[in-house]
C-alpha cells in the first residue's frame, strides 16, 4: 500500500512566521501535490511536481512555495504565514503518466494566529 506521510497533524504558528510542511511518499511516485481544504470550497491545488526539482503552480500559489529535492519528499513553504492561510493542508502523490488516482496523506491542520 502507498503511504504518504505528513510530518505534523496539527500546527499552530504566528503571523509572519516561515512555516514548513513536509510530505514523504514511499512508492516511488513521480507526481506529488499540495492542496488546501476549506469548508465549502473543496480541495484547491496549490502546487504540484511531476519530477525532482520540477514544480508547477496550481490554482492558488500566492503566498506559498515548494521544494522537491528528492523524489520521495515534497515540501510546502509558507514564506510569511498569514491568518487566511489557516486551513487543512493535504499532500498527495500519484504514479507518473497520469491516469492514476491520488494517494493522500492524513493532512496537517495549520492554525495561524
Amino acid at each position: 500500500d502507498v503511504k504518504v506521510t505528513q510530518s505534523s497533524r496539527y500546527l499552530v504558528k504566528r503571523t509572519g512566521e516561515k512555516v514548513f510542511l513536509e510530505c514523504v511518499q514511499d512508492m516511488d511516485h513521480e507526481n506529488m501535490f499540495w492542496y488546501r481544504q476549506d469548508p465549502g470550497l473543496g480541495l484547491r491545488l496549490i502546487y504540484f511536481s511531476y519530477d525532482v526539482k520540477m514544480k508547477e503552480k496550481g490554482d492558488i500559489p500566492e503566498g506559498y512555495s515548494v521544494s522537491r529535492e528528492k523524489k520521495e519528499r515534497f515540501s510546502l513553504i509558507l514564506e510569511s504565514a498569514s491568518t487566511n492561510q489557516t486551513s487543512m493542508y493535504l499532500c498527495a502523490s500519484s504514479e507518473g503518466g497520469g491516469n492514476s488516482p491520488l494517494h493522500f496523506g492524513n493532512g496537517t491542520r495549520l492554525t495561524v494566529t
Binding site: 473543496g42 491545488l45 511531476y50 508547477e56 500519484s94 497520469g98 488516482p101 493522500f104 492524513n106
Partner: protein, 112 residues
C-alpha cells in the same frame, strides 16, 4: 480554466433509498476520479473512470462517465448509514499536465 461542479453539496437521505450525485466539468477530459472522505480523515480513492461510457461499481455505489456531456454521476443504491461521508469528484484535464481539480464535495448523511 477547468471548473468542476458537484451537486448537491449536501444530501440527507433515509436508509434504503436511492440517489445520484452529479459532477459537471468545464473542459475536455476523459479522466475522472471519485474519492470518499470520512470526518477527520483523509481522502480515499473510490473509482477511476478513464473513457467515455466507463462504468464502475463497488457495493452500493456505481460511477459513470459521459465525456461528451462532461458529466459523471455517482449513484447510491439502497443507502446504508456506513455510506455517510463526503464524496468528491476530481478531473484531470487533457492539457495542463497532471493537475487534478476537485469539486467542492457532497456531504452525504444517511439516516438510520
Amino acid at each position: 480554466e477547468l471548473k468542476v461542479e458537484q451537486n448537491p453539496l449536501f444530501l440527507s437521505m433515509q436508509e434504503g433509498k436511492n440517489y445520484t450525485i452529479y459532477c459537471n466539468y468545464s473542459t475536455t477530459s476523459d479522466r475522472l476520479y471519485w474519492y470518499r472522505q470520512d470526518p477527520g480523515k483523509s481522502l480515499e480513492s473510490l473509482f477511476v473512470l478513464l473513457s467515455n461510457g466507463a462504468v464502475k461499481q463497488e457495493g452500493r455505489l456505481m460511477a459513470s462517465l459521459d465525456t461528451k456531456a462532461r458529466l459523471s454521476t455517482l449513484h447510491i443504491t439502497a443507502a446504508v448509514h456506513d455510506l455517510s461521508a463526503t464524496y468528491f469528484c476530481a478531473v484531470e484535464p487533457e492539457t495542463g499536465g497532471f493537475k487534478t481539480i476537485f469539486g467542492a464535495g457532497t456531504r452525504l448523511f444517511v439516516k438510520a
